[in-house]
Every structure is written in structure tokens, then in C-alpha cells.
Symmetry: C2
Subunit: 280 residues, 2 copies
């Protein structure tokens, strides 16, 4: 496994793969790898001749008062996990090589990036879209792997690939959960013992909503109302948003249909967690 | 020469070129080809195994009250010129294939795209940057050719290539002029006989400024003042802007240096013309 910190050297190495007719799978990450990331990496290794993983905590997708400075960066453990999984290249660039002093370009996906997480994290999806365009241009993958946990991110990237004519196939992989239901996230390490228990309210709420739909409730207003009540029963929980939207377009729905997706963002203490599920 | 209107087919054809190890040169145009465009096309044919020319009047780079509806579209003549020059593929997409109904993505190059032409044509360079990213992703060129006449556009594209890590080399080719000095432009066809004469005030002003610098004037304020006076002596001329800036960064200068560039935008009747020159 090669670990490369240079944009140019990674670009040339990936160019050589394609020149040889090898297919390239790409898993962009911010590191602090968990089983969710590893499920993407393993799928990429199954699908492609070569797999490239990027590890880059992208400052442009963090807001001013967010957790950029203390976001976990266990680089040695990450490299060990990548090596063990069979990754070919880990691209781990330094900040200056990604964003020169005179960096000026922004990629935005209107509407899709403005609601939900984009509303409480303004500029977040511009940061995501911009770095993903850069990474696609550096790696030139055949297939890129993203996690369903970041559902809005997946929708933004899907639109961006289509709009900008990237010849990249997108594979969005299912959410990986702890045995008790908590969706894996690099931010789960922030939770103390009590908060870790309280955090179950997210996945429990998804199950509750699925149950309501199964039993015939289709008014999204009613479902959201019950879910909010359920979350508010946990004292350490503070709701950021609870919304039922159309998958991909993220348009809010009045009635649950086959592609209705419940999206949650909830603060547990000082940790903001997200989760989602298709309801039908 | 192949004329292709489909994004996917063009993308596949260009992919096949690269797969065979052939180099691809790319000349993006809005058609109405003149000797300026042809100088880019000929350079591309000299430099590369294959040359792709796009002909697409991009609505996203026109303002509401601009000349989108009557911009010249002499497609048969354009195809004839491309064929005669030895172009391999003309990519001439229809609007729907470039911009689906749910198109949502914007690429912006901050600051560089906001001053000069960007100030009087808000959104213009977002339209340019967005379509160029699309075209680069469709064609995947080794070298892309742009004209120096659109100096600000060239600066925006240069920054975009660098910021977004496109592995595309940019070649900016010199302005081609009529014998009497008028810079070639597809918009010159709008000029009547008298306006055609009046339009010489642009290139004459550039020569005047060069002469002033040669004779020791270095205050850009003084030069701009004299140039404005000169242009205003022509009754059909209305100044849009006259500015002396640093090449590439487009930062306004107080004193002329080695990379000082004079940029002009002048209305001659209802036709907006631009021209520029390095002063030293």
C-alpha cells in the first residue's frame, strides 16, 4: 500500500492505473475510519482492480464554531485498517497542497445543499462539493463510494456527478450500525457513557416511524410530531431537524410514499448526530 | 470529421482516444468561428493527435438583456471551417443534453469573476466556469485552447484548472486582428459601416497607452484618464470600463509594471466590444 501526500503524485499514480486499463474505486473519507467506511472500502476492493482511499479532514466543510480542531485524526490506526483491508493507495494530502493561498473556486449544488444540514451548517455542502470535484479530478475513479448515513451528501454528490458530466459511477452503501442500533459515526467517540445510551433515541425514532407507516399512518406531519415528542423525552437530546423528504430530490413530503425518507439531526449534549431511513 | 450532438457519445469517443494513448486538444467555442478561433484550432492540431471543437451558445453565460437570441449561429459555415482545418470531432450539443430540467450545480471563481466584465455581466463567469467544467469532463483534454481576447475568461479558467486539480494544460493564444487593428470577434457582425470605423478606437487606445508607457508615463490613473478622453471623442462609443490590472490576478495597479494589462470594454452603438494588451 502506498501512502501519498502529494496531489500530483497521486494524480499520476491513478493516471497510470487507467493507462494500464485497470479500474479504480475511490472512497473519500475524513479518516477516523469505522466499520461504515470499511464496508465501502471492501465493496470497492470487490468491484475494482485498484482502490484509492483519501483521508483529509476538509476544513471548507466545517463551520466557524464546529469541531474542526478536535475532529479525531487517528492516522496510524486508519493506515493499519486500510492496509489490512487491501487498499492500494491512501491519499492523505496536507492542507496547503489542497488549498493554495489564492484558492478561489467554489462548487455549489443549489437547493439540495441549502435545506436540512445545509440550513444549520451554511456553506457545508459547498465545502463538500468543492473537495469532491477536486478529489474526482485527482483520482479519476470509475466508481466512488459514499455512505447512506450522510444521505443529503449522497444526494448532493449524485446531482453534481450528473450536472457536471463526471464519468464516475456513484455507489451509496447502507448505514452500518452497532448491535443496539446506533449508526456508526466518527463523532460517536465524543459521547460519554450516558450520552451513548441517549443517542439510541435516533435509531429508535426511525424504527418508531417505520412502525407508524406500517400501521397505516401516512401524514408526515403526524409522524414528525410523534418523532419530535419521542426525541424530546430524552433530556440530553436537542432536535436540529426532523424531516420526511423524497429520496434524491430531498423535496419535503406531505404523505409517505415509496421513496419517503426520514432524516434526523439531533444534538446529544455537544455532539451533533444524524441518521435516516426509508420509511416504506 | 465526426459531428456529435450527444454528451455521452462524445465522452465515449474521447475516452477511446485516451485509451489508445492519443493526446486530445480541445477548443471550446460558441461558434460563429473566425480567424481567432481558427488560430486556436490550428495550434491544437499541431500539438495533439486529435482535436475536438465544441460549438455551444451557452445560455448560462448570457445576462437577461443580452444578445443570446440573436447571437450568430452559422453552423454550416462553422462545420465547413472545422472540416477544412482538420478537426476530428465537433461536439455540438443541444440545450437539454447540457442542462437537464433539474440542473442545479454552479462553479464560481470568486473575485476573478466579479470585477471588470463580471461587474457589468453578473453571473457571466459562473456560466463560463460551469460549462467549462462540464466540457472538460466530457472531452477530458490534454490541452485546452482559449483566446487572449477574453483575458478575464482566460484568468478565470486558469484559476479554475489550478483550484480544481484538472489535469488539463491551458494554452492562451494571442489576439488575432483585422489589418486595421480591430480585434476579431463574433460580435463584429453587429457593426454597421460607420460603427466598424468607430470600433477602431479600442485598438487605437491600446496603442496610445503603449506609447504613453514607452515615453515614461507609469501612473495608471493618468493613462486611464487619457484613454477615456480618447474613447469619448468618438460619439457612438460609450465606455463600460477602462482598467489597468495585473495579468492573471486582475488586481488593479497604481503603477505600470511588466505584467500590467490594459482592459477595455466599450459599447459601439448596441454592440459591446472588448480588447486588451500588455502595456510593457
Amino acid at each position: 500500500m502506498k501512502v501519498i501526500d502529494s496531489v500530483k503524485i497521486t494524480q499520476n499514480a491513478c493516471f497510470d492505473f487507467r493507462k494500464k486499463g485497470l479500474t479504480v474505486g475511490f472512497v473519500p473519507t475524513m479518516g477516523a475510519l469505522h466499520e461504515g467506511h470499511l464496508s465501502l472500502i471492501r465493496q470497492s476492493i470487490r468491484d475494482n482492480d485498484k482502490t484509492v482511499v483519501s483521508i483529509f479532514v476538509n476544513p471548507k466543510q466545517f463551520g466557524k464554531n464546529e469541531d474542526l480542531s478536535y475532529y479525531p485524526r487517528p492516522i496510524n490506526k486508519d493506515l493499519y485498517l486500510c492496509r489490512k483491508a487491501g487498499v492500494d493507495i491512501v491519499f492523505s494530502p496536507c492542507l496547503k497542497d489542497m488549498y493554495a493561498k489564492d484558492f478561489r473556486t467554489k462548487v455549489s449544488v443549489e437547493e439540495l445543499g441549502d435545506s436540512l444540514c445545509g440550513e444549520v451548517r451554511p456553506g457545508h455542502f459547498i465545502g463538500v462539493a468543492t473537495v469532491v470535484v477536486k478529489l474526482f479530478n485527482i483520482v479519476g475513479p470509475d466508481i466512488a463510494y459514499f455512505g447512506q448515513k450522510d444521505a443529503q451528501q449522497a444526494a448532493v454528490i449524485k446531482q453534481l456527478i450528473k450536472d457536471l458530466d463526471f464519468s464516475v459511477k456513484l455507489k451509496v452503501m447502507p448505514i452500518v450500525r452497532e448491535n443496539d442500533g446506533l449508526a456508526l459515526s466518527s463523532r460517536n467517540v465524543y459521547l460519554n457513557k450516558q450520552q451513548r445510551k441517549d443517542a439510541l433515541i435516533l435509531s429508535q425514532s426511525l424504527e418508531l416511524a417505520k412502525g407508524l407507516v406500517k400501521n397505516g399512518t401516512s401524514s408526515t406531519k403526524n409522524i414528525v410530531g410523534l418523532i419530535k415528542k419521542n426525541i424530546n423525552s430524552v433530556s440530553s437530546a436537542k432536535i436540529d431537524y426532523v424531516e420526511i423528504v423524497q429520496k434524491d430530490s430531498l423535496i419535503p413530503l406531505k404523505r409517505v410514499n415509496n421513496n419517503a425518507m426520514l432524516l434526523l439531526a439531533v444534538w446529544i449534549g455537544k455532539t451533533r448526530l444524524i441518521d435516516n431511513a426509508i420509511l416504506n
